[in-house]
C-alpha cells in the first residue's frame, strides 16, 4: 500500500527524490511479523531470566513447597482419619485433595505478582517498554509478550511443583497434568486482568498493596483451596463464584481426582476464557494508550 503511495509522490516530484536517493546509509532494520514480535519480547524476558532465575527461586519454588508441607503434610496429618475431613474431601487423602488446588494458588499468586511491580517498572522505573515501543514492536505485542512469558513461566514452575507434589505422595492420577493446564489458564486470566490494571497506574503505593490485601489474599483464602467453599459463612460464598481461582481450582481438582461434571467444567472453562479475553483486550488497549500518546 504505502509503496504505491510513495511511488505516486515520487512521480510528482522526481527531481527532489532523485537527488536524495542513494546518499547516506540504508538501514538494516525491518519490522517483525505479528507473532514474531511477541516472541522477541518473550526472548527479552528469557534473557533476563537466564541471569536472574536464582532470585525468583524462593517465590516460585520454595514458597509453594512450604505451603504444601504446612497444609498438605502437617495439617493433613492432623485431620487424617477424621470423619469430617473425609466428608469434605469425598474420601480421598487430604494431601491428594489439596494438591491440585495448591497448584492453582501458586500459579495465580505468581501471575498476580509478575503483573504488578514488573509491569509498572517497564513503564515507569526502567522504562524499557518505551524502548520496545520505539522499535518496530507494537504496544500490543509488548503486552502479549509479557503475558505469554508469564504463562510460560507459570507452566514451568508448575511442572516442577507437580514433581515435588508427587514426591510427597500427593499425586493420585495422571490427571494432574490437566490440572496444571487449568492452573495456568486461571493464572493467565489473572495475569491479563492485573496487567491491565497495572498499566493504568502512575505509582505503586496504595494501589498494589490494596490489590494484594483486598483481592489476591482473600481470593486464595476464599476460593475453596483448603476446604470446600460450602464450609464458609453463606454471605462469603458469592466471593468464590466470581473468583477466577475458584473456577481454576474446581477444574484442577476435577482433573486430578477424575470427578468430571461436564456442564460445570464447561462453565468454569468458559468463565476463565472470558476473563482471559477481557484481560487481553484491556491490557493491549491500555499499553497502547500509555506507550503511544
Amino acid at each position: 500500500m504505502s509503496e504505491l503511495a510513495s511511488e505516486s509522490s515520487a512521480q510528482r516530484e522526481p527531481a527532489v527524490s532523485a537527488a536524495l536517493q542513494g546518499a547516506g546509509p540504508r538501514s538494516t532494520g525491518r519490522a517483525p511479523g505479528p507473532w514474531g514480535g511477541i516472541l522477541l519480547v518473550v526472548e527479552h524476558f528469557w534473557t533476563w531470566y537466564r541471569r536472574n532465575w536464582r532470585a525468583t527461586a524462593v517465590s516460585s519454588v520454595l514458597q509453594p513447597l512450604l505451603f504444601l508441607l504446612a497444609f498438605g503434610v502437617g495439617f493433613g496429618s492432623l485431620v487424617a482419619g477424621t470423619g469430617s475431613a473425609a466428608e469434605a474431601t469425598g474420601g480421598v487423602d487430604y494431601l491428594v485433595w489439596l494438591a491440585p488446588a495448591l497448584l492453582a494458588v501458586s500459579t495465580v499468586q505468581s501471575a498476580a505478582f509478575e503483573s504488578t511491580y514488573p509491569v509498572l517498572s517497564g513503564f515507569k522505573w526502567q522504562r524499557f517498554y518505551h524502548a520496545m515501543a520505539a522499535s518496530p514492536i507494537s504496544p500490543a505485542q509488548v503486552a502479549l509478550g509479557h503475558l505469554v512469558w508469564v504463562a510460560a513461566k507459570m507452566a514451568g514452575s508448575g511442572a516442577i511443583y507437580v514433581i515435588v507434589i508427587a514426591l510427597f505422595g500427593g499425586v493420585g492420577s495422571a490427571g494432574i497434568v490437566v490440572s496444571l493446564l487449568a492452573a495456568v489458564l486461571a493464572g493467565a486470566a489473572v495475569a491479563a486482568l492485573v496487567t491491565a490494571f497495572s498499566a493504568t497506574r502512575e505509582n505503586e503505593g496504595a494501589a498494589f498493596n490494596a490489590l494484594f490485601r483486598f483481592v489476591v489474599i482473600p481470593m486464595t483464602l476464599f476460593s475453596g483451596t483448603f476446604f470446600p467453599v460450602d464450609r464458609l459463612p453463606e454471605w462469603v460464598q458469592p466471593l468464590a463464584f466470581v473468583s477466577p481461582l475458584w473456577h481454576g481450582t474446581e477444574l484442577a481438582r476435577a482433573a486430578a481426582l477424575d470427578r468430571w461434571q461436564p456442564l460445570a467444567a464447561l462453565g468454569h472453562l468458559a468463565y476463565l476464557v472470558a476473563l482471559l479475553a477481557l484481560g487481553i483486550a484491556l491490557s493491549t488497549r491500555f499499553f497502547a494508550r500509555r506507550l503511544v500518546r
Binding site: E3, S6, W48, R127, R293
Partner: protein, 310 residues
Amino acid sequence: MLLVADGLVQARGLRKRFGDFEAVRGVDVDVARGEVFGFLGPNGAGKSSTMRMIACVSPRTDGSLQVLGMDPDVDGPRIRARIGVVPQLDNLDAELTVRQNLQIYGRYFGLSRAHVRAKATELLEFAQLTDRADDEVEPLSGGMKRRLTIARALVNEPELLLLDEPTTGLDPQARHLLWERLYRLKREGVTQIITTHYMDEAEQLCDRLVVMDGGVIVAEGSPAELIERYSTREVLELRFDPALRPEAAVIAPLAERVEELPDRLLLYTADGEHTHAEVARAGFVPLSALVRRSSLEDVFLRLTGRTLVD
C-alpha cells in the same frame, strides 16, 4: 528504489493536542538526508511532542507528516524499523548486561542473532564501553548509560537518528565525548534530529535549526544565519549597583539594541570593547562588564522576550 518525496521528514501544519492543551500548534518542517537538524526551545515549547510524532509513538492530531516517505499513522512499524531513537530519559533494561541490552534490542529490528552479536561488539567499541560489556547497566555512570542508549539506537544502522535532549544532566566531559560521537555519525551520513535547550549544543551540532516557543516555530535557519538575523556580532553585558543603574532608554543610543534583564543590561553591538569605552565616556560606571560573542541565547531572547532559564 522508491524512496522519499521531499526529504526524510516532511511535516505540514502538524498539530498535537492533549485534551484541552495544544502542545504543537501547526508546524512545518523539512529535514533533508544527511543534515543535522535541531529543535531549540525551553521546556514545554513542543519539541518533544514533535519528536514523538516523528518517532511514530504519538499519533498527530492534525496536519500531514511523512517520515522516510511513509505516513506514521499507516506504516509506524516499518518507519520505526529504519530509525533510531534516543529518548530524553534512558530506558535501558537495568538488570541486563551492557552487551545484552544491545543484542536484545537489535533482535526487535528483525536482525539475526549472529548479526546482533557482531554489531554489539562494534557498537561497544563506538560507545567506549567494551571493558564494561558484561557488567549490568544499573551501576554505570550517567554518561555511560547515555552512550549505551545512543549505541542501542544505532543497532539497526538507522537512516534517521532522533535525539531528545541527548546531553541533559551530563557533566562537561561526557557532553564533549557525546558531541564528538554525534559528529562522527554525521560524517558517516546519518541524518539526525536533535532537541535541546542548550545554545552551545545547537551551535556545535546543527546545520539547521528551528526555534520553537509555545508550540509554534518562531525562527528557522542555520545557527550563524539566526545570529546574523536576530542579533549582533557581539554583546556587552553590564552589571550595575541597583541604585546607580541607568535607564535602558538613556543608554540605548550607545548600542544597536538594549535588552533589560532583572540583574543586567545587554547591549547588542558590532564591537563590544568600543561600546564599553563609550559607556565609560558617557559617565556610567558598571560594577562589571563582559564582552562576548553573540549566541543563540540572544536570538531566543530577541524572539520571545524571555531568557531560556526556566
